[in-house]
Symmetry: none
Subunit: 216 residues, 4 copies
């Protein structure tokens, strides 16, 4: 007779959830370090400290796992974006805040950048197949539209700015620097990842965005 009582159903469920999450995190790390093609199911299992077979129990296959990781990552950044509360700030401050947030998020979540690269290498097939692609739309586009409009109305911002274009620009300024920092460093022989370099970059990007947006 087993001395340990079998777990109650809800406990088992909790274990299941925990295992799934452990796998997802392990997979996220593996995919972001090696890309989809370079990731190894074996390593994911090892990272998760779980049996490889279990991955297939919860996720259909490598592709589905990658899709799940991608969705999770998008969900996470979207949640963070939602917390920003930009509309409580003056338009120029809201933009400063957004530039700063984008920079810091990418800095703190380098895996997000490489995951996006992988997703694009595969032509976003994993998003196209996702049921929840639309949920992944950034709430910031609408917010940004409103900020730009307010700024235009109060006379501080120039008019005619497409929020999506601006969103892409803000993202691009951080993204390129961080995503390509290895090649940039190798080629320009300059360490781009020191705290000083970081603060210079943030300051530069803020200047660029505000320089563009502010009615001189």
């Amino acid at each position: 007779m087993s001395p340990v009582a079998p777990p109650a159903p809800e406990e088992r469920q909790r274990d299941a959830d925990r295992s799934q999450n452990t796998i997802l995190n392990a997979a996220r790390d593996e995919f972001s370090e090696h890309g989809l093609g370079g990731a190894r199911m074996d390593r994911i299992a090892t990272r998760a400290g779980l049996n490889k077979r279990l991955i297939y129990y919860y996720f259909a296959d490598k592709e589905a796992l990658f899709q799940a990781v991608l969705e999770q990552s998008y969900r996470h950044i979207r949640e963070e974006e939602r917390k920003l509360n930009l509309l409580g700030l003056k338009p120029a401050d809201a933009l400063r805040r957004l530039v700063e947030f984008t920079w810091n998020y990418y800095l703190d979540h380098p895996e997000f950048l490489t995951l996006l690269n992988s997703a694009n290498l595969h032509r976003a097939r994993h998003l196209a197949e996702s049921q929840r692609a639309r949920e992944l739309n950034s709430p910031l586009i609408a917010t940004l539209g409103e900020i730009l409009e307010r700024g235009r109305v109060d006379g501080t911002f120039r008019g005619g700015i497409d929020p999506l274009q601006l969103y892409v620009s803000i993202a691009g300024l951080s993204y390129f620097y961080l995503s390509n920092n290895h090649t940039l460093s190798a080629i320009f022989g300059r360490d781009l990842m020191t705290p000083k370099a970081h603060s210079e970059r943030l300051s530069h990007m803020t200047d660029v965005i505000l320089g563009y947006v502010l009615r001189n």
Copy 2:
């Protein structure tokens, strides 16, 4: 007597060069479509129309081949950059020209973007091991420095702009849009690759850069 003259030694030599080049181009396409991990030596051979063994005859292994492709790609963009002759233009025009060139180059060479992504996924190890990493430094940094200085002197540009920061920003504005166009399109439900979208993007980027650089 053979009716066809035997190829001169230089000619024969050129066969080897031609094979090597064919392989390099095929490899560039394969790596850029699938990444380093997803690329298949078999497919490279097929694309090149050459025996797989020959790839190993000329290049040590997959890694070395990737490195060669990367070097070639850098060399190519650097050559094009060199042709730009920005110093013959007025500072503001020179910046417009540079934004436009960067955009068009990335647009015409999507493989360059994905190769860079792969290189960075591997922490630029392939550049670090390259003998010629330094040759790959962009001539534009110096040129950009001179343009910025001239603009400052003639009173059209603000001062204190780091050429490297500006270079990275110009690149980033194009890069993010093009490299991530699949995920962006999937999520925002907007086709970013129409001619109209392209010209809007170019116009936006030019405004951003000049809006930042011009003294009010």
Copy 3:
């Protein structure tokens, strides 16, 4: 309800052991027939009746497999040597017995000879890397030392004989004949593998060893 009881855990475990052993035996045959360089992993799998992938599941690679085979072979001969119980015999009889045992072991285990040759071709690198190299030391050296001492004391043996030298000589007399029997036969045009030839050789070797050891 399944009519067959599921194997107990120890049973299942034994499956793994059995597979490993099957592989080891197949590998031993393949390596001994073709040498390390000439052995084929595919053939080992076929001989074992198991999937080739399984070999890599249990053994890191060809080299590690060879090492495992080598260790197993040494362990086997050492076990047999241990059973000899030479100290229960009179010194001269003990030597006769040892010569006979060595001869018969080599005769019955031709794979041992070729494995040793392979190991030496590779400068015993596989033993050097073995954790258990020391366990493979022959118990016979000590035993032989005692036998020689007893014989010396009872006046039948000459003194001053190094047990290791004698051990090597006893082994060498059988080894050369059996390991090189193909070239010897080809060159001298005499079949060395008939029963008669065998018994003549054994008799000759015994004479050589005793002729040397006995105090005239």
Copy 4:
């Protein structure tokens, strides 16, 4: 017009002979270091400093090359054996001389041992196919027969000794020690290749052979 006169026919012949010999020596080294299965045609070409294609020009294929190497090696030891002139010595001295010669030859030509091992691994197929196998028969067997007979007649040697058995024994005593020195050293933890160890071995072997042959 070429400033260098084309080589005279006999010179070309000399070049051809030289190339063949260079290849044979390179092949001997390669085969003896790696065995037949582990030898690489590429490395042989590199060792020879000649084009790989040339090997195929002179030798049909790898097997034929191995056969040629083997024949050459046998020819060489047979030549040296022929120079020994044992019949000019007293029987016991002749045997001492032979033991010593065998030992030194193996010591100075370790490649001969590994080549023999390879040949035997392949069941002496390469000798069987050789036209000149018979030439490779050792002249020592006859000589040894005569020595033994003289010794018997002059009362120093026991009778009834088979020269072939004795030849094999003399060879085996040296062979095992030298051919297996790596495994022996690894297992017994004793360096067998010091000058002191060598002279002890030679002395031991001489004692063994003479102890056996001498009439009490």
